[in-house]
Symmetry: C2
Subunit: 357 residues, 2 copies
């Protein structure tokens, strides 16, 4: 790897690629002149774009890729495209040429290829997808968002460790609070696995930050900085929340178009409404992150514009510049060996969270 932190960028992924990708790169290069980019894709299309983007051109090295992984391609098929832009960008992380990769392309392919090519961090059983979203009290991180349909206790603990480091690295919080997502009624509380994970977290070095169980309401309320859950529940919660916000945005549009006085009202309240829209803007929260791999992997929304892609680039750069993966290793080491719940000392038992070697 060169001296400067380098991010491999899939230039061909996403509905508006490569235009929005290079536009976003231009914005990000201005914000972080210390970063280097490896821009991978069809050079016949990327070269002319770079000619008009001087900052991106100054920070990026172009690498030609003859193939593109389409959005509807199955990961198994994508695996065979050795010269796809996404694949070559991922390869650059595996070889150590880049510290991370970002793509707005096919999510399933990015997850599968990253897991296979970049591989899991020592000590991590299963990588997780995380994202940042809005809440009443500021930004909230949730994971897993769908990388693992089923999770065991160890996975949930690892998600807590990774969520903690992610919140420190990207949100800059010194001691993020952590909640374990569960259902409401006392009598109906989630299964044995959630109780066990809660017991372990309570007794762990993360115990001071661990808030205990949280419910669906707590996500938007911002009760904790990090919400830990299995990939099935997290995926449903994320999309349910996004769907609810989209519903209200649509309804507000109707409200302000419903009469002349409502339109006038919109004009008067517009500066504040624009701030609200910006605040809830999906682009501002663009960028789901694959945590737990031997490199930073960021997935931008496929439909993103340049500004949204630049936000995703920010997240990737923050993780690279602030040593996210080093933080994970340190976090796992701090956790040491998980004690089985019930207080028995894990002299010979327990499950090592830190790498055995």
């Amino acid at each position: 790897m060169a001296g400067a932190p380098t991010l491999a960028v899939d230039g061909m992924g996403g509905d508006r690629a490569p235009g929005a990708i290079v536009d976003g790169l231009e914005i990000a290069a201005e914000r972080h002149p210390e970063m280097r980019f490896l821009l991978v894709g069809d050079s016949a299309r990327l070269k002319p774009l770079l000619a008009h983007h001087h900052r991106a051109a100054a920070s990026a090295v172009l690498r030609h890729a003859s193939e593109v992984i389409s959005d509807d391609m199955k990961p198994t098929a994508a695996l065979r495209l050795r010269n796809a832009s996404m694949r070559l960008a991922i390869d650059a992380v595996a070889s150590g040429e880049a510290g991370g990769v970002i793509s707005a392309g096919n999510t399933g392919a990015l997850l599968a290829l990253s897991k296979i090519v970049i591989k899991t961090l020592p000590g991590i059983d299963r990588p997780a997808m995380a994202a940042i979203g809005p809440s009443e009290r500021g930004d909230v991180i949730m994971l897993d968002l769908g990388a693992n349909v089923t999770c065991d206790v160890r996975n949930l603990i690892e998600f807590a460790v990774m969520g903690d480091v992610f919140a420190r690295t990207v949100l800059g919080l010194p001691a993020p609070t952590i909640g374990l997502l569960n259902v409401g009624s006392e009598e109906l509380k989630g299964g044995e696995q959630l109780r066990e994970a809660a017991e372990i977290l309570k007794e762990s070095p993360l115990g001071q930050q661990f808030h205990g169980f949280v419910e669906g309401y707590d996500i938007a309320a911002g009760t904790t900085d990090v919400i830990v859950t299995d990939g099935f529940t997290g995926n449903v919660a994320l999309k349910t929340g996004e769907g609810a916000l989209k519903l209200v945005r649509g309804l507000l549009r109707q409200v302000f178009e419903s009469s002349l006085s409502a339109r006038l009202g919109y004009l008067l309240a517009r500066p504040a409404l624009d701030r609200l829209r910006e605040w809830l803007d999906p682009g501002r929260y663009n960028g789901a992150v694959m945590l737990g791999l031997n490199g930073v992997v960021v997935k931008s929304h496929g439909g993103t514009d340049a500004e949204g892609f630049a936000h995703a680039l920010d997240v990737a750069m923050d993780m690279l510049l602030h040593g996210f993966n080093e933080g994970i290793s340190a976090g796992l080491a701090r956790m040491g060996t998980i004690e089985p719940p019930g207080g028995r000392k894990a002299a010979d038992g327990g499950q090592p969270l830190a790498p055995a070697i």
Copy 2:
């Protein structure tokens, strides 16, 4: 049971009981003069209230209950209060005196007592909680919302049957569409159980109405009229969506208070904004329903006002007046015997959905 359909009302459940309960009863009694109510609670408090609510007084019979199940009481403790208002109201359903019960009190106690005292409908393995919520295309029903933390294939199929009948009965839809909640990415789709349930529904008499898998987005989008999921996921999704809507309501309040011109804008857009608020009003969707018991069981929000309680009463009355439980039995009979997936004819195998007796 008397000739007229009768609903037992817990007069003491909820933060604003008994005032809001009797106020709500007054509204409901006006809407449905054909209904009869059995109002259960402290007669020293209820009698003076009824004196000022002539319609409620004309439709209701008062029954004294010397005890109240508090909100923080565990169901096991609640079970011992034989003279609690909630208990006596539930007893009236078990004895056949009333066709259903409604309470704004302790949810866990209502669920547990109803299951034990009223018991499950023949052919139903597990009762489910359902609620109605807003979407882009109209009202949406989701179940289970937390009565069952884990569910098997049979439970999901039964939820689909009950959701179908609930949508016909309460929303008046002739052929409601049904979706099975799952996660997005093709490669990561939910487990064997969801695939199996989808296979069975596709081949069942509900096949024409079955839309297949839906995602979190689809709830607020209104892609299907009924969303079927396990109680853990449904509880998280419901509360996440409610949390997101609450977040936006709070932000809009801030927007319109942020400047003089924004305040003026609010006044101009107010009629349309009030319609929006009313449309998203949690009170309008007040009333979670316990489906699959030998009687109608409706839970109103604890914090409900009179109008919200009247909405919950509407749901209970619709279910009673339109024969909800008879619909469930007919729906189960239509489903017949579940064939194991894979096409093998269930000559001797398969799992009976209809009551064996």
